[in-house]
Symmetry: C3
Subunit: 115 residues, 3 copies
């Protein structure tokens, strides 16, 4: 199962992380392999700052990361928000253009979900 | 034509039901076969309660159901909203995990629309 | 690269036009061919009126149009908003039903992005 989640609004992070949690639980129960990526662009990249999410949400994201979920940030969005790479939390992947990533993944067979 | 609509916010139901209405009208005019599913997760599952939509919207949904549209609810969302199966309006389909349903349908060739 | 953007809320136009701008910049840099369509339905079709966007956003849209991006309006939405074809800015494409367009393009291999 290959999926890319798209989040561009800060307020959609709790829903997105909850969606991913439910997905992982089902995948573990059904012993299925997966590639899950969460692609943030627009203001949503602010969640990758050390204080970008509530403590509770940070714990959820860290756990999902530990289970192999990729969290990616659009470089155009980072620049627009004046965020430099060293300001990002550990293991955040930077992609040159978020919308290109969304298209390339769909071309590779990833399903698209916009919470 | 195979389509899955994704609705996770209560306020997006009128737009979603309107989208489906327009789609059905075009499909009938063009005599095309279809499989249409509306998948609700998050707070949007509340629309499946008997008082979850305005009377006018309930009529629209009932008509679409009569034309073969499937209305599905994410079981994780139902639990989170403390909604039990017997509280749901007739013919609501319950799926174990809404996001898994969204991926599986896309894998089966369904187009994805997020109103 | 083939992509269809879906916009149904007026307030999502700046994000959508910014997404398309970033996409075009990447495509030019990487010398890739593209087909990009922006499909508006719901209230979002109002952006195709001569005063439907800020001057700055109109300049961005005009430039993207000059680079080959197709801007399409759902005819059902135009009727619902009491907008006649002659009220639309130049080169706006009218499609009979926006949601049908979204499905047909996905069937033709277009990736779907909902900003």
């Amino acid at each position: 199962m290959k999926v890319i989640y798209h989040v561009d609004a800060v307020e959609m992070w709790p829903m997105t992380l909850g969606n991913v949690r439910n997905m992982l639980d089902w995948l573990h129960q059904n012993e299925q392999e997966y590639q899950i990526e969460v692609l943030a662009n627009g203001p949503a990249v602010k969640a990758y700052l050390s204080d970008g999410l509530t403590d509770a949400m940070q714990v959820v994201m860290a756990q999902e990361k530990a289970e192999g979920v990729l969290f990616a940030a659009c470089n155009n969005a980072l620049k627009a928000q004046h965020i430099t790479p060293e300001m990002l939390i550990e293991k955040t992947v930077i992609v040159p253009a978020g919308v290109i990533e969304l298209v390339q993944k769909q071309q590779e067979g990833f399903a698209y979900i916009k919470p």
